[in-house]
Assembly symmetry: C2
Homo-oligomer: 306 residues x 2
Amino acid sequence: MYQGIKHIQAFLAIARLGSFTQSALELHISQPALTVRIKQLEESLGVRLFDRNKRHVVLTQTGRDLLPFLERVLTDMESVLRISRELACMKCGSVTAAVLPTVAAGLLPEAIRRFGGKYPDIAISVIDAIAERILHAVKSEEVDFGIGSYLWTDREVDFEELLVDRLGVFFPDGHPLSGRSRLTLRDVVAYPLIMPCRGTSVRSLFDRAIEKAALKIDLVCETVYLSTAIGMVRAGLGVSILPEAAIRAADCGGMRMTGIDDDGLVRRIGIIRKQNRSLSPAAGCFVQALKEASRVPMAYFSSAAD
Amino acid sequence: MYQGIKHIQAFLAIARLGSFTQSALELHISQPALTVRIKQLEESLGVRLFDRNKRHVVLTQTGRDLLPFLERVLTDMESVLRISRELACMKCGSVTAAVLPTVAAGLLPEAIRRFGGKYPDIAISVIDAIAERILHAVKSEEVDFGIGSYLWTDREVDFEELLVDRLGVFFPDGHPLSGRSRLTLRDVVAYPLIMPCRGTSVRSLFDRAIEKAALKIDLVCETVYLSTAIGMVRAGLGVSILPEAAIRAADCGGMRMTGIDDDGLVRRIGIIRKQNRSLSPAAGCFVQALKEASRVPMAYFSSAAD
DNA sequence: CGATCTTACGGGATTCGTAAACATA
DNA sequence: TATGTTTACGAATCCCGTAAGATCG
């Protein structure tokens, strides 16, 4: 069949330089080898490409007709090389991640800062989503990877922990729960509850703990945004269980937070990846930046419930 | 360096079929050979293209990024193959010829008819020109070949005779030259002459014959078009020496033509080609049609002097 | 005769296929 | 265990470079 790129390079070099000898020098092969290459190309294409007049070599009409097409093949091949090199060296490409809002506002900016400094040409796009949707996005390969809580054992995905996020009880000033250094789930369920809606990691952890302890609860409201839940708590509608770090992000005036002593109520946050899928060089590098960033304390958290 | 088309075919087959085994069947190679090819391609591009999960093979993100580029290379390569095949089989292409007007109106239509019947996809373009310009067009490679008279020995071009065109003396009814069965140049130069202009083959032959015989002439007019010369002869301005066949093409009422016995006054018309240049398949085939057509008598001649 | 392309041929690298090993569902 | 990919290795092929041949200016 047709031979390969080297034959096209040979053709173009001779078409340009008008000499086998010159072209052989440029291509770093011997001149007889070039003769053979052109002969092979001519045979495989079934047409004569050059008229050899001993002193000069010139394209035949057929050669002239084919020249632009062969040029395009080589140009395109060079594009492939350039782009794959750029992808490998992260001079281009993109990373897409589905991330819990708390992480998107807390850990992520630091990671993006680190990564963006090293690889300014990689576009990073972040989809902030609740735990359930992150898992879906990872499994459907909408995203390169997710950052979230690994709540449901799922053999389709791998999990690698980045950080552990403790939950706490949020209640208004002057609430009966005040003054205790630690609380338990059993203490909390005696009061009306405001919780993030289903599908969030906090809610999943909470529901699981409730079921395990076989407790009854009085859920007065479900919120999408963490800040809404906090507002309701401050207004005296009830108490809530939320990430401890939220105390730093939201306006928590008129509120108290106390840690909760319950094994189930810790949010293990990490990288969620589809099994048997390799990360692109850029994504792999960004994950690295995330791991580094997770070793320094986070400054801020978002106001969305997740 | 990068390997070749076969690697790209391998990549695309696997990307499409999602299986090394299937692709190997399609490509008619063994499956281990395919593994090696992909490994080579990945190494030469410096990126991982597939995630092998034993049960399925799926593109990596990088592979997906590169897919359209590699597809384009193969598409382009297939274009090259298709076009060269078409050029070879004369399913496409064009032929350009510089042709004497008498031939363009006489021999050429028959040749075009024959050729066009067999190869309807080849475009034929004809430049009608006088002998001098035909030679120039051939040497500058404006045209694939010329059809004309080989008047000036020129090592840059080859000549292959197609037909011989005799010249005759044209004079008005009742002219003193009337009634002779043959004439000589010496008979003719006694009268005022109307001749095709310099650069035409007829004029060149004439001038050469005059010079060789060391005759003096009375040139009253030079014409570009053969029909003009005939009109002037009919009007009694003088006599002319023109291709005998012109008697059939122009309106020659009130005129007589007699053959001339002079060795120099035959026009040898044939294919004029640049030396050491091969003809395209289409041009070569058209030349063949010309040779065939030149073996049947011509019906008409043009009215232009050449 | 000098420059240049073509042909011939031997050595070396590449590629292929068979067979065996390995991995996953 | 069955399916499918990777590794290993011997054999065939392909490709290259050197040397000799041919051709044109």
